[in-house]
């Protein structure tokens, strides 16, 4: 009893004290929209308390601020929440902003489907045209997405805009080629442009084999026409694409017309490029010193050595001779609009690039038309046609930069030097002036689609798409220089035509039961067909060089060859989506594929996936967490496949040849064994993820995945009794495991300022789980640092461990597999001494993207980074670090100046001698490729409206951009020596300054 009394007393005292201490504080005000309209029924809450009210019909409110609370939260459906600090203010009027696109954003999910982000169960990344604005200088579409999305990695091979880039989504899910002729499935993602799958030029294909120079189909599309790029990563998102979705799917949609007046849009850009990170060679004095030292170490007398080396007073900088300031020009004009059921957009673009290497020019014209017409109330027609044309001049300018600096490109009379070595190797200046080498490409990508809305719930659609490419390659080597002299002049023409069509018909049906159960169904059927034709003609011993066409010399000097290929596939697909009160989602996909590459029982394969998600933040009990806008957990599991292994991979084939005949009878001999077991690579994808939205301005996405590849295809050796020595087999199981984190943060937002930062990071680890025959597969060639080893990464690098230079003798030393040390390069070079020393794929990679807007000024910047991962010195650079052995043929890297000269010298570079046997694949030549790539910075200014109106324009913007600012490499410490920055690309990369102008009217 006493106790109760005591408690009551304490409580009463507390209440009294609170009342007396707090000054009763009310806040009043009005809540409006941006347009100034009052918002009735908006919620006004005191943060971290139960106190709250709603606005009245005029948008007014009055609320009492409890003690120790200082923050009010205003919210209204469809508008962004706003937090305001009260700080003793008594009146607070608030303007709420409409929710940005971000939250209600719609993304593609394949086969015409589009879903609000919130409804997704799969892993999907999406970039729209606004975000792509930061990548305006990109020449091809794939370059635009580098560093933009977690887990998507773009590897540029050469830096030339028309060459195919490697795109890897969540690592490599097919095996890599460990020997030159091994057949592996393509690791490129499936790319779909307006519903039509693009050709995978990296996929093995008999007809491709004749074509050395490949043109990136994405380089034939104008980046300005892109509306959005969507990357599908997990099973729930990709399984509807079944057989070709193992490596992920990229869906590219182009812009279409919008109802309303016709709008014109013109952009013009002009850029200048300079080489960066170019390889540093010895100058003439250094070269002569090192060459002399090398020869004298190899037993030459000084006199003999100098005779061998040649002139000491010729100073040729080969790099300067073949490089120049690159110039890029771009012009785009588009118009779009829509009237009474007809929407249209047309664009034309011109691109011209003169790259930093002389003789490399690219000229491209792209056009694109998009029409949508309502034929009747229920029938809609859509027509898209892209036509583009490109011409590219090719010259291997930088192949010549290693000629010795004491060699002159000219004879004394000013003509091109054709004395040795230019009798065998091309004098680049002669090549530029006398030879021709170009590619012309004509590309059409288009589709026509009919949509029939039978009832509000049921829709049928039929799409027919075409992808046609015609490529012409032409080479002319004059007999006046080394490339043509030994064959009396040479002409080669190669034409490749590829026609692909795809047709798919599908039905979409949706229904809602009892208001809470929402269901969507999709069922479809697809056929795809592809035909290739390659025609090649060559002609040597040209009687004269005025007419540069085939067939002008005797028939025996004129040869033709052709090759054809054909591919077909037939697929069924379906999707079912269900959700309960927009909180619990389920998504199931099914696909059945049959492809002509496989035989018999293996021909058809079925794929399926299921995805689940739960929008936790929509639960009633979550409402108390004001700052949490979105909390969603999702997971998926399913399988996809990969059939891109060539045209006739599973068939037993014979080939005819006039060399296989006998006794006057035409002969045929086996070409490849029947391979009835060969089947699809399958990829089982598991994904779990968390989506979080905070404070109305931050999105966090975390994903974890485990992708297991089964039956990965590669060429393996087989017992000789089969009559063959190797065959493509479903040889390996492999796993990719990793996580991805994406942060999108609106750091600052006010009337004048807007600052966003997007950051992403991804980590992937790969492991080979099993190999056919339980055998590790390590090629016998010592020049190959690749290998497939059970338990190791697929990108493992196999090399010899370098033991440094013996300070007493100056010999290079290597560890053998038994731990002993040898100085004998021949012994060291045996493949059995190589061990796994690293891997080429990074531990983690990602990008950072920021936009700062102040009034009419916008500054954007972008970088990407990688850490972990190694690079084995490419052969090209190895020749320039030859420890003396190639010094008479190639100028050497400045790093060779640090060679061993006398006992006691501590260095990694041995005594220079012609007799050295340098080993390429050693840890001496292994580099950590951890780096940051500063991709671009751009500043733009939008002219004030009153100025623009004078010119009768809607908008006028000018900008300046710097692309490829530079690279930072962890491992490059010595500024006067070559490092990974110089070694990484075969030819130097360039930095580009661009001035641009954009007008809308």
């Amino acid at each position: 009893m006493m106790q109760l009394k005591g408690i009551l007393t304490v409580l009463a005292m507390l209440l009294i004290s609170m009342n007396t201490l707090s000054q009763e504080h009310f806040v009043t005000g009005k809540v409006k929209s941006e347009e100034g309209v009052a918002l009735p029924g908006a919620t006004v809450k005191v943060a971290s308390s139960q106190t709250g009210t709603t606005t009245d019909i005029k948008g007014k409110y009055k609320i009492r601020m409890p003690e120790d609370h200082n923050v009010l939260i205003f919210s209204f459906v469809g508008y962004k929440n706003k937090r305001v600090e009260v700080n003793d203010k008594e009146t607070i009027n608030i303007t709420l902003e409409k929710k940005s696109q971000e939250i209600s954003e719609v993304v593609c999910v394949g086969y015409g489907g589009a879903k609000a982000k919130e409804k997704l169960t799969g892993s999907v990344d999406h970039v729209d045209s606004k975000e792509l604005m930061t990548q305006q200088s990109a020449a091809s579409v794939d370059e635009m997405i580098g560093g933009m999305m977690a887990g998507v990695r773009i590897k540029s091979n050469s830096g030339s805009p028309a060459d195919p880039n490697k795109i890897r989504i969540r690592g490599r899910s097919s095996l890599k080629q460990v020997t030159g002729n091994a057949m592996v499935a393509s690791s490129q993602p499936l790319i779909i442009l307006d519903g039509v799958p693009l050709e995978d030029v990296s996929a093995p294909n008999e007809a491709n084999d004749m074509v050395k120079k490949k043109v990136n189909p994405l380089a034939m599309i104008n980046p300005k026409d892109i509306e959005s790029i969507t990357v599908l990563k997990d099973a729930s998102a990709t399984a509807i694409y079944g057989a070709n979705a193992s490596n992920g799917v990229i869906i590219i949609n182009t812009k279409d017309g919008q109802q309303g007046e016709t709008k014109f849009d013109y952009t013009s850009r002009m850029g200048f490029s300079q080489p960066i990170n170019h390889f540093q060679f010895l100058n003439t004095e250094e070269y002569v010193t090192l060459a002399k030292e090398t020869l004298m170490n190899s037993g030459y007398t000084e006199e003999k050595a100098m005779e061998q080396i040649g002139p000491t007073d010729v100073y040729t900088n080969w790099f300067d001779l073949v490089s120049r300031t690159g110039i890029t020009q771009k012009h785009n004009l588009s118009f779009s609009g829509g009237k009474s059921g007809l929407n249209y957009r047309f664009s034309a673009g011109y691109f011209n690039n003169k790259s930093i290497g002389k003789g490399n020019n690219l000229d491209r014209i792209t056009t694109r038309l998009n029409l949508t017409a309502d034929l009747t109330d229920k029938l809609q027609w859509n027509f898209i046609l892209g036509v583009s044309k490109m011409k590219k001049d090719v010259f291997s300018a930088f192949q010549s930069i290693s000629f010795p600096p004491n060699l002159s490109p000219y004879d004394e009379d000013g003509s091109y030097n054709d004395d040795p070595p230019f009798n065998n190797l091309l004098n680049p200046l002669a090549g530029l002036a006398q030879n021709e080498n170009w590619i012309k490409n004509f590309y059409t990508n288009g589709s026509t689609k009919l949509r029939y809305q039978i009832t509000p719930n049921l829709k049928l659609s039929s799409t027919f798409g075409v992808d046609y490419n015609s490529k012409e390659t032409y080479v002319f080597y004059s007999q006046q220089n080394a490339l043509g002299s030994n064959r009396g002049g040479y002409i080669a023409r190669l034409n490749k035509n590829r026609l692909k069509w795809i047709s798919f018909n599908q039905a979409d049906y949706q229904l809602t039961i009892q208001d809470n159960h929402n269901l969507e169904f999709l069922a479809g059927f697809q056929m795809e067909n592809r035909n290739d034709l390659v025609l090649k003609g060559t002609n040597s011993d040209l009687p004269f060089e005025k007419i540069k066409e085939l067939g002008i010399s005797e028939t025996e000097n004129s040869k033709t060859r052709s090759n054809t290929g054909s591919f077909g596939s037939v697929s069924y697909y379906g999707r079912m989506s269900y959700n309960y009160r927009n909180r619990y989602y389920m998504n199931m996909n099914f696909r059945s594929d049959a492809a002509s590459v496989f035989g018999g029982d293996q021909r058809r394969e079925n794929f399926a996936s299921v995805g689940l998600s739960w929008v936790i933040s929509k639960e009633a009990w979550m409402e108390q967490f004001d700052n949490l806008d979105m909390l969603k957990i999702r997971g998926s599991y399913g399988n996809t496949g990969n059939s891109r292994i060539g045209t006739y991979a599973a068939q037993g084939l014979y080939q005819y040849s006039d060399r296989y005949g006998y006794g006057g009878v035409l002969g045929a001999q086996p070409h490849q064994p029947p391979n009835k077991h060969l089947t699809w690579e399958k990829n089982y994808k598991f994904n779990i993820a968390l989506d979080i939205g905070l404070f109305e301005r931050m999105d966090i996405k975390f994903e974890h995945y485990v992708n297991t590849t089964r039956d990965a295809i590669t060429t393996m050796k087989v017992p000789f009794e089969s009559g063959f020595n190797n065959i493509p087999v479903n040889a390996a199981d492999m796993r990719n495991k990793g996580w991805e984190l994406t942060l999108r943060n609106q750091v600052l937002q006010s009337e004048n300022w807007n600052w966003t930062v997007d950051f992403n990071i991804a980590s992937n680890s790969n492991k080979i789980l099993a190999l056919g025959n339980d055998q590790n597969y390590v090629p016998a060639s010592s020049y190959n640092s690749a290998g497939l080893i059970i338990g190791e990464e697929v990108s493992s690098i196999l090399a010899l461990r370098y033991a440094g230079v013996n300070p007493q003798t100056g010999d290079a030393q290597y560890y053998l597999n038994d731990g002993s040390i040898t100085t004998n390069g021949d012994i060291a070079n045996q493949p059995k001494h190589r061990v796994v020393v690293g891997k080429s794929s990074p531990d983690a990679h990602g990008g950072l993207n920021t936009t700062i807007q102040y009034k009419n000024w916008t500054l954007t910047g972008m970088l990407s980074y990688e850490w972990g991962g190694y690079l084995m010195l490419p052969y090209n650079s190895f020749r320039f670090n030859s420890d003396g052995t190639q010094i008479l043929i190639h100028n050497q890297s400045v790093n060779q100046l640090d060679r061993w000269q006398e006992p006691g010298d501590q260095t990694d570079i041995p005594e220079l001698s012609l007799d050295n046997r340098p080993v390429k694949n050693t840890t001496r030549n292994l580099f950590d490729r951890t780096h940051i790539h500063f991709r671009n910075v751009s500043l733009s200014y939008k002219l004030p409206e009153h100025l623009v109106e004078k010119f009768k324009l809607d908008m006028l913007q000018v900008n300046i951009t710097v692309d490829n600012l530079g690279y930072w490499y962890k491992s490059d410490s010595n500024p006067n020596r070559n490092g990974i920055a110089e070694y990484r690309y075969t030819y130097p990369v360039s930095r580009t300054f661009t001035l641009g102008l954009n007008a809308k009217f």
């Binding site: 037939v570 006739y648 068939q651 014979y654 006039d658 009878v665 002969g667 045929a668 087999v729």
Partner: protein
């Protein structure tokens, strides 16, 4: 109602599209032909058979290396002083009996190529019965030819990769992998015993003889396998198997065949310098399909090259008597002695002698001597000796002396035709090379393990059931 419409629409879609789906997916390449497509009719079968014949005339078989292997190891041939580094490197291990399972040139290519030949022969054997068109006689002839090729390749494999027949009692030591049909690429086949291997070879040849005798083909010349070819090869196989009576029987059947007669003494040299099969050639290989020089560049008269890479050894040259017409086949070229059996013109090599009638006489002679019928043996030996040297005295020898004389005669008669080393191994004789520039193993004592080639490492790695030959690691 609505749902019904949906179902109708959907099933219509599926139906329309599912028609001839299989046909849509069956794609044939246009510049190659699927196995099924090739073997559909007899025309295709004949192309495949021609391809199989062609594979016998491969550099890694009778066109070059199988012959050089016999002659370098046996001691009929040595390296020329002019040999270029590349060829020295290529043939050094053969000459030095220095084979290793890791060697990817010598034993590797024999093993690999001979099984490629077998795959081609087996494809013909398996598919001919169901091929459209052609008479039964035509099909039988093709089958007989393919079986002969199959038996020959098995025989050559067992000569290279296994011990001689009498190495163990009843030949129970490891032979080779027999391929009755092309094994699946995933099979892990096992070696049979030498006994089983020979049984298979003999059986194949017997069936071939049956098939070929029932379907004599008039239009095919001596570049194609006939019943006599199969019999001649069977006689050779019996000799290696030491089945003397059957060897005599087979050799006799060929000798009694009126189509074949010894070329007379006067035309002997001419026979070798003209390209066409002569009356004593039971089978020659057409060697005109590869446009490059082969044996002529090594031990023959080269057409283009200014040097030969090898030279006939004194060990062989000293065996011939002054009056022996066979001496005239040898000529000096630069500082080397070369043999006119191999010549090239416009990069086309002369045809390759596979079986000649004199071999049949010598087989019958040796087998007869061994079963104690020296009269037949002496008569056959004398025939071959007299043909080469009409003044040669009658060989009044018996027992081992007679046998030795026959074997010596065989070395002289079939010199550089790819027999010597295989014969020495069959006889269990030591290798004694006097005029020799090998740097190792100039002499070898039977039964050194080097008489047998190693199984290539790749085969060991990828066939779990393969057993390596003794002595090789």
């Amino acid at each position: 109602m609505m749902r019904t419409t949906l179902y109708i629409m959907l099933s219509l879609l599926m139906l329309l599209s599912a028609t001839s789906c299989e046909e849509f997916l069956n794609r044939d390449p246009e510049d190659k032909i699927s196995n099924d497509g090739l073997f559909k009719d007899m025309t295709g079968v004949k192309y495949a058979l021609a391809g199989a014949y062609n594979s016998l005339a491969d550099n890694d078989y009778y066109r070059k290396n199988f012959i050089l292997n016999a002659e370098l190891k046996g001691g009929n041939v040595k390296f020329s002083s002019n040999i270029v580094e590349m060829y020295m490197d290529r043939y050094r291990d053969t000459y030095n009996f220095n084979h290793s399972p890791n060697d990817e040139r010598t034993s590797y290519y024999f093993y690999r190529h001979l099984y490629e030949v077998l795959n081609m022969a087996n494809n013909v054997i398996a598919n001919t019965p169901d091929a459209k068109g052609g008479t039964q006689a035509e099909k039988d002839h093709v089958l007989g030819e393919a079986r002969t090729i199959r038996a020959l390749a098995h025989f050559d494999l067992v000569r290279l990769f296994a011990r001689r027949y009498d190495y163990t009692n009843n030949a129970q030591h490891p032979g080779i992998v027999i391929v009755r049909q092309s094994p699946d690429v995933f099979d892990q086949p096992e070696r049979s015993t030498v006994y089983e291997t020979y049984r298979f070879i003999v059986d194949d040849l017997k069936q071939a003889i049956n098939l070929l005798e029932n379907s004599p083909s008039k239009d095919k010349g001596d570049l194609w396998i006939s019943a006599a070819t199969a019999k001649a090869i069977l006689a050779r196989v019996y000799l290696y198997k030491e089945d003397w009576n059957n060897a005599i029987d087979m050799a006799t059947q060929v000798i009694q065949n009126n189509n074949y007669n010894l070329v007379p003494h006067q035309q002997y040299v001419e026979k070798f310098t003209q390209d066409q099969p002569s009356q004593e050639d039971i089978w020659m290989l057409d060697n005109s399909y590869e446009l490059a020089e082969a044996l002529s560049k090594f031990i023959g008269v080269p057409g283009n090259a200014d040097k030969t890479q090898m030279s006939v050894s004194k060990d062989l040259l000293n065996l011939y008597e002054q009056e022996d017409v066979r001496q005239e086949l040898f000529t000096t070229y630069e500082n080397d002695t070369v043999c006119r059996k191999y010549q090239a013109e416009n990069n086309i090599e002369s045809n390759i002698p596979m079986v000649r009638l004199p071999e049949m006489y010598l087989i019958r002679a040796e087998a007869s001597a061994r079963i104690g019928e020296p009269i037949q043996a002496r008569s056959d030996l004398d025939k071959i000796r007299k043909r080469a040297n009409p003044d040669a005295p009658f060989p009044n020898l018996t027992g081992q002396e007679l046998i030795d004389q026959i074997i010596l005669e065989k070395r002289k008669e079939l010199a550089l035709e790819g027999h010597l080393f295989y014969e020495l191994k069959r006889l269990g004789r030591d290798i004694n090379r006097t005029d020799c520039n090998a740097t190792r193993n100039q002499n070898l004592t039977y039964p050194d393990y080097r008489y047998v080639m190693p199984i290539p490492k790749d085969e060991m790695d990828y066939n779990q059931n393969m057993i390596q030959n003794e002595g090789y690691k």
